[in-house]
């Protein structure tokens, strides 16, 4: 191979290595600070590498600080909202793909429009609605808006359109009820599609900020992103170690989801997830 050709091959690697370093370095920095003792930032370059390691901030997180509560709230909201989202998406997506009903076209159009709708538009009425229902500052207020999300439904409708209805038809001729078909045949067959819906639902729910900010009022109901953001604005000197430890805790589930479901996340993005 000529020298020019091998340079042409090496160049993208060099450029991408720089890009990869730039995109991961801030996160490594976050992890490093969170694993150092004390609340100040490492200042001198020597300090940044030479600092001792300490689990102090994580121990504090665990031992009852507000962050433990924020984490618990985020876990509760995500663990309740995402499985329901998955079931709703399967049921509604299937109905959209296989049945005809009044208003189906309009519903499809509205759901599609919702994907690109700036969600801030629904913020104020949702606040007033939750306040009128007496649900402000409850888990219900944090969970319910996520169940309206149309992405999973549209994704599953498309998924079922490309799936042959033969098996369902056979089960129906065998006399299985619609409910039995849904639980025993449809759901097990939809694994790959539901994984896309689930992991994207997880990311939006776990990272969600504006609605939880407005729909909660007491510190004990804050989710992790909201709690972290407000904690950073406290009047007192910022405890960077604690803050970046909290940020790391908010990041760990995302890293795990990314490690196991990267392909599904990308597929969701390509299908126009309105994140």
């Amino acid at each position: 191979m000529s020298r020019a050709a091998s340079a042409a091959r090496a160049w993208p690697y060099a450029a991408l290595s720089a890009v990869a370093l730039l995109s991961l370095a801030p996160l490594l920095y976050m992890a490093r600070v969170s694993l150092s003792p004390g609340g100040d930032l490492p200042v001198a370059p020597a300090d940044w590498f030479g600092r001792p390691f300490s689990l102090e901030h994580y121990r504090d997180l665990w031992n009852g600080g507000p962050m433990a509560r924020f984490t618990l709230n985020s876990l509760i909201v995500t663990c309740v909202a995402v499985p329901i989202q998955i079931l709703l998406a399967a049921a509604a997506g299937h109905a959209l793909a296989r049945s005809r009903f009044l208003g189906k076209g309009a519903l499809l159009a509205l759901a599609t429009a919702f994907l690109v709708l700036p969600r801030q538009v629904t913020l104020i009425p949702l606040y007033l609605l939750m306040s009128r229902l007496g649900l402000l500052d409850t888990y219900a207020a944090l969970i319910l808006p996520h169940l309206a999300e149309p992405f999973g439904v549209l994704f599953m409708a498309h998924y079922y359109q490309t799936m042959s209805p033969e098996l369902e038809e056979a089960a129906r001729t065998d006399g299985l009820s619609g409910r039995a078909i849904f639980w025993r045949i449809l759901l097990p067959l939809s694994g790959p599609g539901l994984a896309v819906v689930g992991v994207n639902g997880f990311l939006t729910t776990w990272n969600s900020f504006l609605h939880p900010l407005v729909l909660t009022t007491s510190e004990s109901m804050r989710t992790l992103p909201v709690g972290l953001a407000l904690f950073a604005q406290s009047e007192f000197a910022v405890d960077w170690g604690a803050l970046l430890a909290g940020s790391s805790v908010a990041t760990i589930p995302v890293v795990l989801a990314f490690a196991f479901f990267q392909r599904q996340i990308v597929e969701g993005v390509l299908q126009g997830s309105g994140r």
Partner: protein
């Protein structure tokens, strides 16, 4: 295939109650003087809120700040995403690793990203420490009214370029390999191939990605909330932050709803332009 569509009901009810109803209610609110703390003073005022917004210096200031943010980040983000997607398409081995490294920040919470950059931008933060070590003066990244918005823009480019690079990479992969091989056999330079074959192929997706980025950038909020709270001297007061302040500090919920609908109108306009330029294909699915 006639069968009851009961499966649609649970989601349709949620979508109606927590999606469509709030959407319609915001429209109704935008024509009212509505302070939830003073229910006795609630009244319909027609287009009053819209008139107030369009004649309010704060609204125009927020719109201008948002426009500067969009105009400043969009070209840089797009150029970076385009370059990175090209590099990713060209390498063979290791693509998976680099793709993951580039894409990963897009999955992170914007709050986390903002907090990390807040620590980097801090007066006593890493970047100022490096500047000091190099014998340079400290920079007030977030405290200088002339620098706060550019600092947020820099962070945003970092956070979103990888996302768009992945969208563009997927579009590059739909280009028939034989076409590229044929061009190469004809002895066309890499630059010519890029300009004459790849770029025309990517055009519709590029346009889609530009509009998607515009729509998303117009909603910038978290970055401002965490880093500057609209300051210093309102230099980072964006449209959605303005909306948030009006609605939840001043409880002017009718007025804030009008701002939300102006934002919606803008997004609708962008989509309309897209439909014109692309000839029919609606938003939702790129490529």
């Amino acid at each position: 295939m006639r069968r009851p569509a009961t499966g649609i009901l649970p989601w349709a009810v949620c979508f109606g109650l927590f999606g469509l109803l709030p959407l319609a209610a915001a429209f109704a609110l935008s024509f009212q003087d509505y302070n939830p703390l003073r229910p006795d003073l609630v009244r319909w005022i027609g287009l009053g809120n819209y008139g107030r917004a369009l004649s309010s210096p704060s609204f125009w200031h927020a719109l201008r700040t948002t426009a500067i943010f969009v105009a400043g980040t969009l070209p840089v983000t797009m150029a970076l995403a385009y370059l990175v997607s090209g590099w990713l398409a060209r390498i063979g081995r290791g693509e998976g690793f680099f793709r993951a490294a580039v894409f990963f920040p897009a999955t992170l919470s914007m709050v986390v990203i903002s907090l990390v950059f807040k620590s980097l931008y801090a007066e006593e933060g890493l970047w100022n420490a490096w500047l000091a070590a190099a014998g340079l003066a400290r920079v007030h990244w977030l405290q200088d009214p002339g620098l706060a918005l550019p600092s947020i823009m820099l962070m945003d480019v970092w956070a979103s370029a990888g996302y768009y690079a992945i969208l563009l990479l997927a579009a590059r992969k739909t280009l028939p390999r034989e076409q590229l091989e044929a061009a190469r056999l004809e002895g066309l330079s890499a630059w010519t191939v890029e300009r004459r074959i790849v770029l025309p192929h990517l055009r519709p997706v590029l346009l889609f990605v530009v509009l998607l980025n515009t729509i998303r950038s117009f909603q910038i909020f978290i970055e401002v909330f965490v880093l500057t709270r609209g300051g210093p001297l309102e230099s980072t007061l964006t449209l959605v932050y303005h909306l948030y302040e009006r609605a939840f500090y001043h409880f002017e919920m009718g007025y804030a709803s009008a701002i939300a609908y102006l934002l919606l109108a803008f997004v609708g306009l962008v989509l309309l332009i897209q439909r014109r330029l692309l000839g029919g294909s609606a938003a939702g699915t790129p490529a």
